[in-house]
């Protein structure tokens, strides 16, 4: 029954290696994400300064050996804040994406598999969510709930799950008609087992692509909302907040704005390259699909 799985099980590692050689951009993306991972895991143990510690006498100092990226308006070490900020930004991105994935996948699976009125209702829900420009809705939700990282995550999760639901439902519908599901039904497997054994694997690919790309967009959205003042609150080192407060000193202390800006760019770029690479690898035909926020 399961011999018709689309992929051969041989040498997945080998295939990835070959793919990276062919698709150098994806390799670069993977490298960038890898670097980020290292920073998130080991960075805080390496940087010598406390990202929260004030040193008013040393405020707004330029890059030096002691402070490779200078200090901010309260004398805090910018490098330390940047490194800890990576934890904040990536932590949020992963959490928000995970919530979106779970929510969206469940809704999509149920809608696609059960069909009928349930499908109709769930898809209307998706339509309604997609009727709002995502960032604006997130902004309003975060604003009404009150500015905090938790509320920002709720807001971003609420507005992002429906894309997954659509994609997953689409995959389910196309797979559903295929023989092996019908066969499984004939063998009278329970519905749940069918869903888990056969449907889930077939939706993993598009979800994986979407999620990787999503990590980048969530990093951007988090930074944007924090910049507006609806995300991370002081003293949390968050990149968007750092740009906001740093922008007051843009003519005098360029490092304050430049460092977090480049960090965001690097992160989003890494996820985008990797996500595109995974897509090319898994499903070369499916290009040009629009990403949601």
């Amino acid at each position: 029954m399961s011999t018709t799985r689309p992929q051969s099980s041989t040498g997945i590692g080998e295939r990835i290696r070959l793919e990276f050689r062919r698709n150098r951009l994806a390799a670069i993306g993977a490298g960038m994400v890898g670097v980020l991972g290292l920073v998130v895991v080991f960075g805080p143990t390496i940087v010598p300064h406390d990202p929260m510690e004030h040193a008013h006498a040393n405020r707004l100092q330029g890059p030096s050996l002691e402070h490779p990226l200078g200090t901010d308006e309260l004398g805090r070490d910018v490098l330390a804040r940047l490194v800890y900020g990576a934890r904040v930004s990536l932590g949020i991105a992963i959490l928000v994406t995970a919530i979106r994935v779970v929510l969206g996948t469940v809704v999509g699976l149920v809608a696609g598999y059960v069909g009928g009125i349930v499908d109709e209702l769930l898809m209307r829900l998706v339509d309604i969510q997609l009727a709002f420009p995502g960032l604006i809705l997130a902004l309003v939700i975060a604003g009404i709930l009150g500015p905090s990282l938790r509320n920002l995550m709720i807001a971003l999760a609420v507005v992002g799950w429906s894309t997954y639901a659509r994609v997953v439902r689409g995959s389910v519908l196309s797979v559903k008609e295929r023989d092996y599901v019908t066969a499984a039904q004939l063998v009278a497997m329970s519905r749940r087992r069918i869903a888990i054994r056969h449907l889930l694997p077939s939706v993993i690919h598009p979800v994986m692509v979407l999620a990787t790309l999503n990590l980048g967009t969530v990093v951007l959205a988090t930074a944007g909302l924090s910049f507006i003042g609806l995300g991370a609150q002081p003293p949390t080192p968050e990149w968007g907040t750092m740009i906001d407060s740093g922008s007051n000193y843009i003519l005098d202390a360029w490092w304050l704005v430049t460092a977090p800006g480049v960090a965001i760019m690097f992160t989003v770029m890494g996820f985008n390259l990797l996500g595109d690479g995974i897509r090319d690898f898994l499903d070369p035909k499916q290009q040009g699909r629009l990403e949601e926020i």
Binding site: R124, L135, I136, V257
Partner: protein, 315 residues
């Protein structure tokens, strides 16, 4: 056939808009506490007495069940009455009408910028598929989407307004006020459009009639620019149109960076001031614009490309 499709689509759009209005109305109920008290505290600038709350409830119909209140509200909204700002005795619709032009011109200019980047990049990518040029133009487009647009905005101000002194820093006005914000906004959308142009070009280039044109002895350049591009542009334009609603997302931050008095800035100030009628108004307006523009693009797409299957009734 098309008429039936149209009717079903319109029905579904109306359904969605209805849901949108319910959600928008419900937003204020997300706030902690009693809306009547929230509003009164804002208006009186001090906590209201229980008696004042009672009176206010009766006066505003807030003592009725929520769904009745909603019906009243919707009735007003359908007549164009979105209420009055808590902080400014002006009507929400007047505030929005004042803010709208700044946002619309920014959105349009931003889309033009994204096309200006994406067309050459996408075409080059497609023509030189899988070469270094392809990769470079994709990277350039990706850079655009990876840069936080508010950061880019500051950098543009720094270079063009302050060091070079050639473009204005903030506010709205002539074309010169639009250039930097449009660049900051448009670069973010360029990557998506580039990929689209590339894909679309590749599809068309594989099509038979291009081969025919080629074998008819037309030069490669003419084939690319005249035939391929023209055919490839149709879906691109539609999708860019579809982006219009999405552009509104980006305008919020840009309006703040460039101090532009648009809808996004209005929304953010209203959020921080907890001026709920204004928040509701802006959210409703953007959602309606979003839904309607998506709907129009769907129709257009359907007209342009009959291959699009009718409706979503795939089941």
């Amino acid at each position: 056939m098309f008429a039936r499709y149209l009717v079903s689509r319109v029905a579904s759009v109306i359904g969605v808009l209805f849901a949108v209005s319910v959600i928008t109305y419900g937003l204020i109920h997300l706030t902690p506490g009693d809306p009547a008290e929230t509003i009164l505290t804002q208006q009186l600038e001090q906590p209201p007495t229980p008696q004042q709350v009672e009176e206010f409830r009766a006066e505003q119909g807030l003592d009725e069940p929520v769904y009745i209140q909603y019906v009243h509200w919707l009735g007003d909204v359908l007549q164009g009455d979105l209420g009055v700002s808590y902080y400014n005795d002006r009507s929400v619709s007047a505030l929005m009408i004042e803010a709208l032009p700044a946002t619309v011109e920014l959105a349009v200019a931003g889309m033009l910028v994204s096309l200006a980047i994406a067309l050459p990049a996408g075409v080059l990518s497609a023509v030189y598929q899988n070469t270094r040029i392809d990769r470079i133009s994709q990277i350039v487009a990706l850079l655009g989407v990876s840069v936080p647009n508010f950061w880019l905005g500051f950098m543009l101000i720094l270079v063009f307004s302050i060091y070079l002194g050639v473009l204005p820093v903030s506010g709205v006005g002539g074309l010169d006020h639009l250039i930097l914000p449009a660049i900051a906004l448009g670069t973010g959308m360029a990557a998506v459009v580039t990929r689209l142009v590339r894909t679309s070009m590749l599809e068309v280039m594989e099509a038979e009639y291009i081969d025919t044109a080629r074998s008819a002895g037309l030069s490669e350049r003419i084939v690319i620019w005249k035939h391929t591009l023209r055919n490839a542009l149709i879906p691109v334009v539609t999708v860019v149109g579809l982006q219009f609603g999405r552009v509104l997302n980006g305008t919020v931050v840009i309006e703040i960076v460039f101090d532009r008095p648009g809808l996004g800035a209005l929304l953010v100030e209203a959020i921080f001031a907890r001026d709920y009628p204004v928040v509701q108004g802006v959210v409703l307006l953007t959602a309606v614009v979003f839904v309607v523009s998506n709907f129009c693009v769907d129709l257009l797409y359907k007209r342009l490309d009959p291959r699009v299957t009718l409706g979503e009734q795939a089941q």
